[in-house]
């Protein structure tokens, strides 16, 4: 995975991390068919931080779930991390997810495990990494998100901002090739929200990892390299 990241940094323009061509998506079939994405084409290049904005119901979260291999496109082509998601099998989709760091609106940490255990759990998906290395990386990343003194706290004893920072650490600890975030600041006050985004930005920049982030939050637009506006299921404008 490190090699992959490295090769992307040397040739940033040749291979987009995400490339969507004429993607359509709808829920239901027949009379109940409700189309939410129309002919969406967009790209995210290596190392880019791209924000996805738009009013609610504009289809931005749906697009994020398609890119995250959580749903399957109905028509069009979608390539993520050099894999064709429009033709992939269920197993392939699960495989792709392991290279992606997800950050959700809700932290969704396992309440019965400590911050350290929640983060270290991710290495279950990467058996090639040794135990000692895994626990070392876990401590490092929790330290870098400022939780060195909260390693063995259960989520119930952490504040909202701290929990979201654990979630960020969890998403990044296995050095994913792509980070997808869905309104990571929505449940936080402005200061914690700002902290989490800055942290995300720093960590992503240091590994040159691209980020695609859905957000309504005008306070964090400045971190973006590009902003994609969506409206009524279509890409409305790119800034």
């Amino acid at each position: 995975m490190m090699n992959e990241t490295f090769s992307m940094t040397t040739k940033p323009s040749t291979l987009p991390v995400i490339s969507s061509r004429h993607v359509n998506f709808w829920f239901g079939d027949g009379d109940l068919r409700k189309q939410v994405l129309f002919d969406v084409s967009m790209e995210v290049a290596s190392g880019e931080i791209v924000l996805l904005t738009g009013p609610s119901g504009s289809g931005k979260t749906t697009l994020l779930t398609l890119i995250g291999a959580l749903r399957r496109v109905r028509s069009g082509e979608l390539n993520v991390l050099s894999r064709s998601l429009h033709t992939a099998s269920m197993e392939d989709l699960v495989e792709v997810r392991r290279d992606i760091g997800f950050i959700f609106q809700q932290h969704n940490l396992l309440p019965f495990m400590t911050a350290r255990q929640n983060v270290e759990l991710m290495f279950q998906l990467h058996p090639e990494i040794s135990r000692s290395e895994a626990s070392q990386k876990t401590v490092e990343i929790l330290t870098s998100v400022g939780l060195a003194d909260r390693l063995d706290y259960h989520p119930a004893r952490l504040s909202g901002g701290q929990k979201q920072r654990v979630a960020v650490a969890r998403a990044l600890v296995t050095t994913p090739s792509l980070i997808l975030a869905d309104e990571p600041t929505a449940a936080l006050d402005s200061q914690s929200g700002r902290d989490v985004v800055t942290l995300l930005q720093e960590l992503a920049r240091s590994h040159n990892t691209p980020i695609l982030m859905v957000t309504h939050d005008p306070r964090i637009l400045d971190v973006a390299d590009r902003i994609i506006n969506m409206e009524d299921g279509r890409v409305h404008s790119v800034e």
Binding site: V94, R98, Q106, N108, L110, Q117, E120, F123, H154
Partner: protein, 384 residues
């Protein structure tokens, strides 16, 4: 490092109260299953205990006899024919009936099983009876079963203190000369052993020429099946010759067909199984339901369905282990209590311990299987 098993353990042990409740449910289930199956076995063993005591090679019974506890009689003269066979070493007759023993202290009558048997060669496993053989030949001299219930009063204490005790059985005064330890069953609360002659005195209304069982000892080297077939011809249709094992088998068949032992105790065990199943299912189901967003998140991050399924199954297995061992120990305690309370032997067998352990695994496994369906519904796309 955080295999599904450890995550399962964290999940279960996080809430200690919930864990205790779940484990207690399994404990109750295990205990019920062990106790019910134990009592069932105890009752079955008990009701064939008399047949198992027979040491004769062949037994003659009436063809009408379904169980030796309610045996029909056959003419004694048939037994005399059998001595003509060279393979027969010895024949004795045996009488069995229920009598009424009057408790000398409270003057109430209690049923008692009475055996009329040749004390010199009982061909039954009645430890110690031979040493009283000569005395038992005297009129109205009787041995008392030391393991009889307390209904009959402090007989043993009196026998110890004064050597003999005069009591009334079937309105006849008899003398208890001592006690031997044999054991009772669900059919009888106590036993009296006496010679055939004294038995006739006790039951003057019975036809003196009819016996309940004929016991046959064969010469060394004789094949019981062969001799049985030959002797059957001698007795014709008036009696039946069976081997010792056939007698025991017939008793087992009788008790299973006529007493609802399998049904009652099987039902009890099934109830235990069901309680455990429901408790474990409830716990697992609420665990899964309460953590749906987290499970969906794990799926979104690339954890397979299999990983989550193993988490739930591991929880079920942990619960079955946590419940089994305390349940096992409690059941051992209850066996002891039951043995003392109703003077019937209950003991743990390896077979039953293993069977119930497997049943517990199946019980928890089934609960997990049903709770798992909920896990599959966790849709990673719903997390967003």
């Amino acid at each position: 490092m955080y295999s599904s098993f450890f995550v399962a353990w964290y999940q279960l042990s996080h809430n200690k109260v919930k864990l205790a409740v779940a484990a207690a449910g399994v404990v109750v289930a295990v205990m019920l299953m062990l106790v019910q199956l134990g009592i069932r076995q105890g009752a079955l063993d008990n009701s064939v205990a008399v047949a198992r005591r027979v040491t004769a090679d062949l037994v003659v019974v009436s063809p009408r006899t379904k169980t030796i506890f309610a045996s029909a009689q056959f003419p004694r003269r048939l037994l005399y024919r059998l001595g003509s066979s060279a393979d027969v070493a010895e024949i004795s007759e045996m009488y069995m009936a229920q009598g009424r023993f009057r408790n000398p202290w409270n003057k109430l009558e209690f049923p008692v099983s009475i055996y009329g048997i040749n004390p010199h060669s009982p061909m039954m496993n009645l430890p110690g009876i031979e040493s009283f053989a000569n005395e038992l030949e005297l009129m109205d001299r009787v041995l008392f079963d030391g393991l009889s219930r307390k209904n009959y009063g402090p007989v043993l204490q009196l026998l110890k203190d004064q050597g003999t005790l005069d009591v009334e059985v079937n309105l006849r005064k008899i003398k208890l000369i001592d006690s031997i330890d044999v054991g009772i069953s669900i059919n009888s609360d106590g036993n009296l052993f006496m010679s055939p002659a004294n038995f006739q005195r006790m039951f003057p209304d019975r036809k003196s020429g009819s016996v309940d069982l004929g016991l046959i000892r064969l010469r060394d080297g004789a094949n019981p099946e062969e001799v049985r077939d030959r002797l059957s011809g001698y007795v014709g249709k008036e009696a039946k010759v069976v081997t010792r094992q056939q007698l025991v088998n017939a008793e087992i068949v009788f008790i299973r067909e006529n007493a609802p032992i399998d049904f009652i105790f099987g039902m009890g065990a099934a109830v235990g199984f069901f309680i455990g199943f429901v408790v474990v299912y409830q716990i697992l189901y609420t665990e899964v339901t309460n953590h749906m967003p987290q499970y969906a998140t794990l799926k979104a991050m690339g954890f397979s369905d299999g990983y989550l399924l193993r988490m739930v199954v591991s929880q079920a297995m942990i619960l079955s282990l946590l419940g089994y061992f305390p349940g096992f120990i409690l059941a051992l305690g209850l066996y002891r209590v039951a043995t003392n309370a109703i003077q019937m032997q209950f003991s743990m067998t390896v077979e039953r311990a293993v069977t119930v352990f497997l049943l517990t695994m199946v019980m928890c496994g089934l609960s997990a299987m049903i709770a798992i369906r909920k896990v599959k519904q966790a849709d990673p796309a719903d997390v967003f």
